[in-house]
Symmetry: C2
Subunit: 339 residues, 2 copies
Amino acid sequence: MKNVPVVLTGYGNVGRAFVRLLTDKRLECARRYGLELDLKAVLRRSGGWLAKGCDDAEALTSSGASVALESHPGWVPGLTFDSAIDRLTPGVLAEATPSNWRTGEPQLAFLHSALDAGWNVAAASKGALVVDFRGLTEKARSRGLALKYSGATAAALPTVDVAAIALAGASIERIDGILTGTTNYILSRLEAGESFADALIEAQAKGIAELDPSMDIDGWDTACKLLLISNAAAGTNLTLADIPVEGIRNVSAAMLADARKEGRAVKLLGRLTIQDGRVKAEVKPVAVEPSHPLHGITGTVKGIAFMTDTMGTVVVTGGKSDPRGTAAAMLKDIINIYR
Amino acid sequence: MKNVPVVLTGYGNVGRAFVRLLTDKRLECARRYGLELDLKAVLRRSGGWLAKGCDDAEALTSSGASVALESHPGWVPGLTFDSAIDRLTPGVLAEATPSNWRTGEPQLAFLHSALDAGWNVAAASKGALVVDFRGLTEKARSRGLALKYSGATAAALPTVDVAAIALAGASIERIDGILTGTTNYILSRLEAGESFADALIEAQAKGIAELDPSMDIDGWDTACKLLLISNAAAGTNLTLADIPVEGIRNVSAAMLADARKEGRAVKLLGRLTIQDGRVKAEVKPVAVEPSHPLHGITGTVKGIAFMTDTMGTVVVTGGKSDPRGTAAAMLKDIINIYR
């Protein structure tokens, strides 16, 4: 049995789902992978919780989201990330703080500190990776550490690991992705004749869209994921500045009607094209043909199509779009680091 | 750069495509993975070809399928598999001899010999694995060797590696697979109103169906793949005797018409269900609902849906269904063994 120290940053919906999942999967991880995932600390803005022993961690993980972290024994007000990891044998950082994709903070500092201190990383937040993809991946590589981010790249929909493992040896010529469940859901409602405003309110009421939905609707969430997937899967070196981004605010009833007449469906696509070494990435609404592999992907479902030289087109769709699905993607990364 | 000795058994369509692919991907394998895949021998029933030096291997791989293997320098009439690998430093066996799924021979002997002699395996043939899955996988595990068979489990459609890597930590509760392009093509033609006999003749004329198509049509090809995928991905211990198999010979116009009336589509599914530890595997034509993730998969396209506990349903479709696609799956396995 291999013991893996785990530190979690962020204790919102995803962080809490991750803690719950660690409990639910404890026996299975031991049996199937020989791994004992040992939660040592949970950091939030206001401080951190430190496990004092096995029993303490067990109490936290089995109570899951039901009791406030701050009322558990081991809560240290004002505890910082650096001082928490200083006390611990390096393991893996599970990073789930909210994502600021313009500055990358606060995760950017966490990730650099963690890598500097010899920790592997399984990230669910995009911000830091989008802002400093090259710096972080090169730091991880030069130190022989794993930097994984399935949780940040469409979560339970597998994207980067399919490209790296299942398409090994094939060259990716194009990627088309429906990478944001929210926008796909709203487009499906527009197709059904709803107004944009109504569709958005409905998505917010169902908890699908954020209260500030602009990141999704204006295409930036898709662009961030496209950047990470392209850089990881196709070896590109994209920054956000390289990606023209158009969201779904201006998708008109006329555009939808025109598309429908020809059997096409409007999707917000993140698209990467690599032709003769020239890389082009963009995010925009596209009226896709019925023969397009993502034509039938509706509602909150996501999907990605890899067009390759030797394996043809390989399409992955589905994957749970909720905090537990994202937590499952983080757990997957941790298992794949240590198995 | 890591040098990897490669021995190929079988020089039919897949074997020749594999040799061609080694040439085409030589530089890319070196650049992306630091691997030099070094073809040392090719064995067929009548004898074998042995590389005498780098130039010799290069001459073979760059001429590809265009020149008969027997007329190359290095051809040794009557050379056996065992005497060929006896002379070589162990590397990886690329196994592409025609598959006999009742006896497993001749591959069964090759695979045991190869594992006994310390060779890793990337197999494209199903026979030996179906007949002796447990014996072969346990031999590989006990010797610390890799035994991979993407080429035998729907080839360029990723199945076992998606389950092992992209779904790590999730429990598979059901697998539904359209695993044979031939039968899916014939069903699509039947849907379009053709007779079974005409659809079969058309599939054979297009090179989609074998001249003896019974293995596909009667469901055994699907059953063999379901067995391998289930045992690898869900840890079952199925043998062919555990799988009731019904092919598509008796799919009637009435069944198709009934399905169509309700918007359903008839597919030959390989299905695994795991509920409360009870495992059930079967192959039969199923009229799937429009909401089923494989409903829209038509023609020679294949697809697989994994229903999981924590990641929801993850669906993979597509993947080239030709010898080059199968060769690409073998190459992928080799890269993943040595990267």
